[in-house]
């Protein structure tokens, strides 16, 4: 038995020194190879007296396992060390910049249009469109604003012909006319789009965006109008409560007409919507004038409803704290980057309008 102990002690001694993988493998074959030290001990079993045989064999097996484990452990240790060294060599400066990437952005007006569409979608409005170039009839006359009406002075119009029959639409309201001529009531639509007025200063741009709303059915009254706008404003500004005021006004295509103000206050030079005792005009609306309904062959005795129009750019300015309307169309790379939205930030009902 002392042979075995000797073998083990020797091995333990050898394993203590610094070894490489092939040296350990050599040791392994020295012990367990065909004529290895351990293998030759196994050959001895046959020569041992019957009474001692069982004990010897069992002890031998234990020693064998022990030695094998020691060697395997050493091998693993060496392998680990080798990997560690390799990885150590591969180490890089991880603070170096990542590979270059570019990031695109969605214009705040487009984002706002999507937000508006998402809000109105939830209460059953669908989106309609109309052309940017309109006839004088659709833009004015059909909307109860006949030629020579002083209300036309409120719209500085771009014309495309000397006879003033073709123009760039001054509001999105002609989409009402197109929609009602095309289909049969009920109507429940919004129409966002580009609008144009020959007006240009700090707060006016020759092109801007409006969204039109139209809801015509058998029994739609001013209460529905107030409810719809109250809902929209709350959702759009993502507030639980909002101060809103309806003020009588006049638009040729609605009767009664109203302008809608929302409450705000100034905090640290920024507009805070929803509170305060200041009023801010944000949209015009009213009950669609019976003359307009007659013009599109809808019977005003059977059908009635409301329409509204609001400035998208202005809504975006208020929500996102943008001061200068002109900057929307100036295409300054820095501005687009600053106010733009990630294309993956799609406003939807279930994930909300914004993060």
């Amino acid at each position: 038995m002392s042979d075995l102990k000797k073998i083990k002690d020797e091995l333990l001694l050898k394993l203590k020194s610094k070894l490489n993988l092939s040296e350990v493998n050599q040791m392994k074959s020295d012990l367990f190879g065909k004529n290895g030290l351990v293998s030759s001990q196994f050959k001895k079993i046959g020569t041992i007296a019957e009474t001692e045989k069982k004990k010897f064999a069992s002890e031998l097996n234990i020693i064998k396992d022990e030695l094998q484990d020691l060697i395997n452990l050493k091998i693993k240790e060496i392998e680990n060390e080798e990997i560690r060294e390799k990885l150590q060599k591969e180490k890089i400066d991880i603070t170096l910049p990542e590979r270059p990437f570019v990031r695109g952005k969605i214009h705040p007006v487009s984002q706002t249009i999507d937000e508006i569409s998402s809000i109105f979608s939830e209460i059953g409005f669908s989106v309609e469109e109309g052309p940017d170039v309109e006839s004088e009839y659709n833009n004015f006359t059909a909307l109860n604003t006949p030629e020579n009406h002083p209300a036309r002075d409120m719209h500085d119009t771009f014309y495309l012909d000397e006879k003033k029959e073709r123009l760039l639409r001054t509001h999105t309201s002609p989409v009402q006319i197109r929609t009602m001529l095309k289909d049969k009531p009920p109507f429940k639509i919004i129409a966002p789009g580009r609008t144009y007025r020959s007006d240009s200063d700090q707060t006016h741009a020759p092109m801007f965006h409006q969204v039109e709303g139209l809801h015509i059915d058998k029994d739609i009254n001013m209460g529905h109008l107030k409810g719809c706008l109250n809902y929209f404003i709350k959702e759009f500004f993502e507030l639980d409560k909002i101060k809103m005021r309806f003020r009588p006004s006049h638009f040729p295509f609605t009767e009664p007409s109203a302008e809608v103000d929302i409450g705000y206050e100034m905090k640290d030079g920024k507009i805070v919507i929803g509170e305060g005792d200041q009023w801010l005009e944000i949209l015009g609306c009213g009950m669609v004038h019976p003359n307009v309904l007659r013009n599109v062959k809808v019977d005003p005795i059977k059908f009635q409803g409301y329409a509204f129009g609001m400035g998208i750019d202005r809504l975006a300015m208020l929500k996102y704290g943008i001061n200068d309307l002109r900057a929307f169309f100036d295409c300054d790379y820095r501005w687009l980057n600053h106010f733009g939205f990630d294309p993956l930030d799609v406003p939807t009902n279930y994930r909300g309008l914004s993060r």
Partner: protein, 801 residues
């Protein structure tokens, strides 16, 4: 419309405060645009007289004036007005006063080395008129009050109202008072109608010519003889100044006063200048007259003029003429109070580009029954202030006013407004607004007051009632969250998809004008028609854009000037093909400049190139659901692309509509617009040319069919003429067996050594896989052979051995 609470109180009995007034004006629909607090600092504007002027020692155009402001010592004031001469009576602003026009506070300041204590004001600086040429010249009547405040001591603020075009009646103070009274804000004071009691003959004959499109239907007038026109008494001057008007002379001031008070425009003629009589008629083309604004007007046919036997005196309801104007020495006047038709007024004023207070009122509709009230009120005032004898009133009419009667069903109120108003309340409101009513069986018969041209039908009555009751009575009915129709249609969904798809590829979305500079537009117009705007806002925005590129390139250049180099911007929006409604296309247009990976420590930098934009276009279309294996691409592109480095893409080979163009922008354009960038590439995707899939995403996803059998990748290298497109090879390979060939990739293109001149080598990797079994060597070999044969036969290529 500018008013003061004090003036309102001439018509309205109320104990309420100005704060309540402002709220109530807004509540009834008379929007308060602004309130000017004049009471405090208006005391700092004094009537003053220039005693002496000397030339400013350091400035040729300036004078140093000694000004008497009623104090012991004269004030030294530096002034640049040419009319600042010794003896002039004018308005002096003390240091500390706020100049109404500029809203700036005046301080004692050195002007070119000379200290100026205050300022002498022009009319425009005091917001009295647009007259900014020289300082105010006050009449000698002001001599008595040098040093006194120029503005009245009235504590009433100036309230600026925005009156909507349907409410001409509220262009008079009385009309505003009526609305307020109806809403419960005080009581309307009865209009004490003083009438002219006269037996004097009206000796001027007035005739309205009956002709087609006659713009005047009623002409009332009276003669006032032996008047002594003078300066207005202080109360009248104060009144006009309080609403920002400048007093002129008693007769003019009185006509203005009646206009602002009752919205009844009047005109006073020098009766001695009228030849024989008044004829109201249509003008004849070429007739001329000099108007009170000192401008000569050449008239066209059919404008409503007031004339005498010598010619045109004035444009009825718009502006009077110099020939018969009232001066301080005028002795006999003809006072006119007429009804001119809104349409006629508007047409004439538009043609002559004239805007006056009278025109503004007549084009909105003046009360046709106010003719005599206006004459009475003004004539009596003139007699009081200027003396003289008033004649009988003469009224010529060619049409009589028809009273409007409306049948009104009170149920309409609740139907439209959603709330009820009691019958008692209805009557009260309508009565206060001047309506008369009779109860009939199922409805009321309402007589509309003559000053309300805007009211023609039941809905107008509803508006009146709801407006006066208060919009706060309308209850909020919460919307129902139900959707019957999808929000977006297919093309709208595609729009939104493409918009976000392009942005996700690193482009910043821009929104630029739908119009553009015709010079730039011409670079990208190709064969399209130029669409001019008749009245552009500037010459740089004079046409509708035929392509989005013109604007993008203008703004790209501005950004390059800001020092940016590698930019990608895009816009999705309309381009125009004609000036008729609908002649427009929706286009996604992108532009990229500079380099990729500029100054990167890890990536190799390179110029952006046509294959970058090709990738953006192809990837976007694939993401949008179009099949890339069906795309057909050739090199026929519009002239603004580099002819050798651009392409057009069709969704299918036999399609006639171009889905997209992409490529380098033509170097000539870059040179002409002096753009500095290493590279400029762009693309256009035409939304209207993209077929909308009838299948829903759901349908498209139905089948999942893949092969798990072993696939084999084989590489081929072909030698081919340089001008043959790689696409031809790909198509040839694809045509061999659609079921077995699952992927074709060009992995190398080579020209040069070892390749004959005018030829190139194209290396292609082909993936072969069956969905039925694993192919054996023989089968693979025969496909290889077939591929080589087909390519060689179809394209003239030779396999490289």
């Amino acid at each position: 419309m500018k008013i003061t609470f004090d003036w309102l109180k001439d018509h309205l009995k109320t104990n309420l405060k100005e704060k309540n007034l402002l709220e109530q004006l807004t509540n009834v629909g008379l929007e308060v645009e602004g309130v000017q607090n004049l009471s405090s600092d208006k005391e700092l504007f004094k009537v003053a007289k220039i005693i002496k002027t000397i030339k400013h020692p350091n400035a040729d155009r300036l004078k140093v004036c000694d000004v008497d402001i009623g104090e012991k010592e004269f004030k030294k004031v530096v002034c640049g007005a040419t009319n600042a001469v010794e003896g002039l009576i004018t308005v002096y602003a003390s240091p500390g006063s706020i100049i109404p026009k500029t809203k700036t506070k005046l301080v004692v300041a050195k002007i070119r080395g000379v200290t100026s204590y205050g300022m002498l004001c022009s009319e425009s600086e005091l917001n009295l008129s647009d007259e900014s040429d020289g300082i105010i010249e006050l009449s000698s009547g002001y001599k008595k009050i040098i040093g006194k405040n120029y503005f009245s001591k009235s504590k009433s603020n100036l309230i600026d109202l925005s009156i909507t075009p349907n409410r001409p009646d509220c262009l008079g103070i009385r009309g505003i008072a009526r609305d307020l009274a109806a809403s419960g804000f005080g009581k309307l004071i009865d209009f004490k109608k003083k009438k002219i009691k006269s037996n004097n003959r009206h000796s001027l004959k007035v005739k309205i010519k009956k002709e087609k499109n006659q713009g005047c239907s009623i002409f009332g007038s009276c003669l006032i003889t032996d008047v002594k026109n003078t300066e207005s008494p202080q109360w009248l001057k104060d009144k006009l100044i309080s609403i920002g008007q400048k007093p002129i002379s008693a007769i003019v001031d009185i006509t203005n006063y009646v206009m602002f008070d009752l919205n009844r425009p009047l005109h006073a003629y020098n009766a001695d200048k009228i030849e024989k009589g008044i004829i109201v008629r249509n003008s004849k083309s070429g007739e001329k007259f000099t108007a009170l604004d000192n401008k000569d007007y050449k008239l066209e046919d059919g404008m409503c003029v007031i004339s005498d036997h010598k010619g045109v005196l004035g444009l009825g309801g718009i502006i009077g003429g110099v020939r018969s104007g009232t001066e301080l020495d005028t002795k006999n006047i003809l006072l006119e109070s007429a009804y001119f038709k809104p349409g006629s007024i508007r047409t004439t004023a538009k043609k002559l580009n004239l805007d006056t207070d009278a025109k503004f009122r007549f084009e909105r509709g003046i009360d046709p029954l106010s003719i005599e009230d206006g004459l009475n009120k003004a004539a009596i005032l003139i007699k009081e202030i200027c003396g003289g004898k008033i004649s009988k009133i003469d009224v010529q009419k060619i049409e009589t006013h028809k009273t409007k009667i409306i049948k009104f069903d009170i149920n309409l109120i609740e139907k439209v407004a959603g709330f009820k108003i009691s019958t008692k309340e209805i009557f009260k409101i309508l009565e206060n607004l001047g309506f008369k009513f009779k109860k009939k069986k199922n409805f009321f018969e309402l007589t509309v007051p003559s000053w309300r041209p805007d009211i023609t039908q039941g809905i107008d009555i509803v508006e009146e009632l709801v407006r006066i009751s208060g919009y706060d009575k309308i209850s909020i009915i919460d919307p129902i969250k139900k959707r019957k129709k999808s929000t977006l249609n297919k093309s709208q969904k595609l729009f939104h998809f493409l918009q976000r798809s392009i942005a996700s590829k690193g482009y910043l979305e821009a929104i630029t004008w739908s119009f553009t500079d015709s010079n730039y537009n011409n670079y990208f117009r190709d064969t399209k028609k130029e669409i001019k705007i008749v009245n552009p806002i500037s010459t740089e925005l004079d046409v509708l854009r035929n392509s989005i590129f013109s604007n993008l390139i203008i703004y790209m250049n501005k950004n390059l000037d800001r020092g940016f180099k590698d930019l990608s911007i895009y816009e999705i929006g309309p381009t125009f093909t004609g000036s008729k409604p609908g002649e427009q296309n929706t286009v996604v247009c992108g532009l990229s400049s500079g380099k990729k990976s500029r100054l990167s420590w890890i990536e190799k930098e390179r110029n952006v190139d046509v294959f970058d934009v090709k990738k953006d276009v192809v990837q976007t279309l694939i993401e949008a659901g179009y099949k890339s294996e069906e795309f057909f691409i050739d090199n026929k592109t519009p002239n603004y692309y580099h002819p050798g480095k651009s392409g057009r893409l069709f969704l299918k080979k036999d399609e006639d509509l171009v889905a997209a163009y992409f490529g380098e922008i033509h170097p000539n354009i870059i040179k002409k617009i002096d753009m500095r960038t290493e590279s400029l590439v762009g693309f256009e995707i035409f939304l209207d040319n993209l077929k909308l899939s009838v299948k829903t995403l759901n349908d498209q996803k139905n089948k999942f069919n893949v092969s798990d059998y072993q696939k084999s990748e084989r590489d081929f290298a072909f030698i081919i003429n340089k001008d043959v497109n790689a696409q031809n090879l790909i198509n040839a390979i694809a045509s061999v067996d659609k079921n077995l060939i699952s992927n074709i990739k060009v992995f190398d293109v080579y020209e040069g050594d070892n390749i004959p001149e005018n030829q190139k080598s194209i290396a292609i990797s082909v993936t072969i896989q069956s969905i039925e079994k694993t192919l054996n060597d023989n089968e693979l070999e025969s496909i290889n052979k077939l591929i080589i044969e087909t390519v060689e036969n179809k394209t003239g290529a030779k396999i490289r051995s």
